[in-house]
């Protein structure tokens, strides 16, 4: 059995999500291939070849792969999977905005079910996945000829370096032609990326205003942390949408998650409860966040946060 991992990349480098997906793939099949579909993506393909456990990298290069359009990347995957989808036993992509966008197109064309956001591989045909915002875990078994899977990256460790796979250039599938990339607004930040950060400082509705989020900055600076937010804070317009941690935002699992002024709605907990250590700062001692926090401080965040910065030295 051979699994195919769809690499998420920006042409120059691989995204960390690819490494977690390779780990999941290695649990499904004896051999792992990685597809890098991009434009001038030689560097990303070379990086994929260095992942431990990868036996072959398939590199498809064309201008119409530059921006990862779902229509074009899915056609490339289908050309490798073969007309009956028998080329690979498993096709996996990270359950990020990138992978979620592409993979269901592949599953539909192959006429197989997709298994979304797996957190564990129990057997090559049996997987665990959270449902109802993580309030239940479903154990699902697939009898399809090829298993099409998105991988929740926090469920699997990142694959290590140390591989030396061959990079094979494959023919690029054609341009679908009915969709076009117009532009991108990427938030510029010196902080680590939310899903890759070791420490996250997150604010909620309790912050009260966009301005108040500034008091979290010295804390995030001190800890070299990414900054996140609850849906309530995003909906209130305090911070940008891509800061949102939760069921419908980003799923994170850092070693330390500091929740400030976050009450702990189910939807938020679904996005961060796999963090190694959770710290909660809230003035309400009954806030549900304390039921998942390892360490809680009941108090006014506007006093606690500056003290915390001072104490960290």
């Amino acid at each position: 059995m051979v699994a195919l991992v769809i690499a998420e990349h920006d042409n120059a480098s691989l995204k960390g999500s690819t490494l977690h997906t390779v780990t999941a793939a290695a649990k499904c099949a004896g051999e792992v291939h990685v597809l890098v579909a991009g434009s001038n993506a030689g560097a990303a393909a070379a990086a994929a070849a260095k992942i431990a456990g990868v036996t072959k990298v398939l590199h498809a290069d064309a201008a119409h792969f530059a921006d990862g359009l779902a229509e074009n990347v899915s056609e490339q995957i289908l050309s490798l999977a073969g007309p009956n989808g028998v080329g690979y036993s498993h096709i996996l992509a990270p359950a990020t905005a990138y992978g979620k966008n592409i993979l269901p197109r592949v599953a539909a064309k192959l006429d197989v079910a997709q298994i979304s956001e797996i957190t564990k591989v129990d057997a090559p045909d049996t997987f665990e996945r959270p449902i109802y915002a993580g309030n239940a875990i479903a154990y699902v078994q697939s009898s399809d000829k090829v298993k099409v899977i998105t991988v929740r990256t926090t469920g699997f460790d990142a694959a290590a370096d140390g591989g030396s796979a061959a990079v094979e250039t494959v023919a690029a599938a054609g341009d679908f032609g009915k969709s076009a990339f117009v532009g991108r607004e990427v938030a510029k930040s010196d902080r680590p990326e939310l899903t890759a950060a070791k420490i996250i400082v997150s604010g909620g509705r309790g912050m009260g205003s966009a301005d108040a989020f500034k008091i979290l900055e010295p804390l995030a600076d001190k800890l070299n942390a990414a900054m996140g937010a609850s849906r309530a804070a995003v909906d209130a317009g305090f911070v940008p949408n891509d800061w949102q941690v939760g069921q419908t935002g980003k799923i994170v699992a850092p070693s330390l998650y500091i929740a400030v002024g976050i009450s702990g709605a189910i939807q938020h907990l679904a996005g961060m409860k796999d963090s190694k250590v959770i710290v909660a700062v809230n003035k309400d001692p009954e806030a549900p966040i304390f039921s998942v926090a390892d360490y809680g401080i009941v108090g006014d965040l506007f006093e606690v946060v500056p003290q915390l910065v001072k104490e960290l030295g």
């Binding site: 229509e71 197109r105 991108r184 607004e185 938030a187 849906r231 909906d235 949408n241 809680g296």
Partner: protein, 249 residues
């Protein structure tokens, strides 16, 4: 121009579901059911396009048990002109739903289909993309802004790290993210009006679609519980615990 909006009946987002003790699923007997929140956003967007004069008809479609009629009535109270129920007792997987919707789209010939990005029960996030593939249409998922132009739609999408804008030729698929719009409150007069709007019922067999599930759910279990920790009296204690006990800083 016609817009199709598929809507799903799900456990209300405020209900905390419980796993059944025999592990066969979650207990949804006697819990409040509502329209999937992302689908409400999809219907609101379609209705606004109609109010702006860019769309002539909004058709809501649902697939599932008889009670999905209520979800369709809610949809018609928001602004859909009519409803189609694909009635079945079979638990539908996303691929089956996409096939049913394709059959409806083949018949209705909409120029745009707006769906919620995911349902909050199975959290699959698949149907829109699958439907786009089956119809061979372009797609823009996780939309935060939709601008309908002549023969095309320009969509701003929420992606990791920011926003991305795509231009799609019509007909096309759009799936909604949370902040595309804020759905209106449904008013009593509109609920009354919705009762008189046409609601057609079809069966999967009528559409020639096999909805047999492909996946077997072996069991459904409670997630591993995270035990509550301790409350610390002051910041100094917290920092010392993080350093010496948790060793994370």
């Amino acid at each position: 121009m016609k817009v199709l909006v598929p809507v799903k009946r799900v456990v209300d987002f405020n209900v905390k579901v419980r796993v059944k003790s025999d592990g066969t699923g979650v207990d949804i007997a006697n819990v409040k059911m509502s329209m999937n929140p992302f689908d409400e956003i999809a219907l609101e967007e379609a209705t606004r396009l109609k109010e702006a004069g860019k769309v002539t008809e909004v058709v809501a479609v649902s697939a599932g048990v008889t009670q999905c009629q209520e979800t369709l009535r809610t949809g018609m109270a928001i602004g859909a002109d009519r409803g189609i129920l694909i009635e079945t007792g079979v638990e539908l997987e996303p691929l089956a739903v996409a096939k049913l919707l394709k059959a409806v789209a083949d018949k209705e010939q909409p120029q745009l289909i707006i769906l919620g990005k995911q349902a909050i029960d199975d959290d699959s996030n698949q149907v829109g993309q699958m439907l786009a593939a089956l119809l061979n249409w372009p797609q823009a998922t996780f939309a935060s802004k939709v601008e309908l132009g002549d023969g095309k739609v320009t969509v701003t999408r929420e992606v990791d790290g920011g926003l991305e804008t795509l231009a799609l030729q019509l007909p096309a698929i759009v799936t909604t993210d949370l902040r595309l719009n804020e759905p209106r409150y449904v008013t009593l007069p509109n609920i009354m009006k919705a009762k008189k709007k046409p609601l057609e019922t079809v069966k999967p067999e009528d559409l020639g679609v096999d909805v047999t599930p492909r996946l077997k759910t072996l069991k459904v279990a409670e997630p591993a519980k995270r035990s509550a920790g301790i409350k610390v009296p002051d910041v100094a204690t917290l920092v010392s615990k993080l350093r010496t006990e948790a060793k994370v800083i």
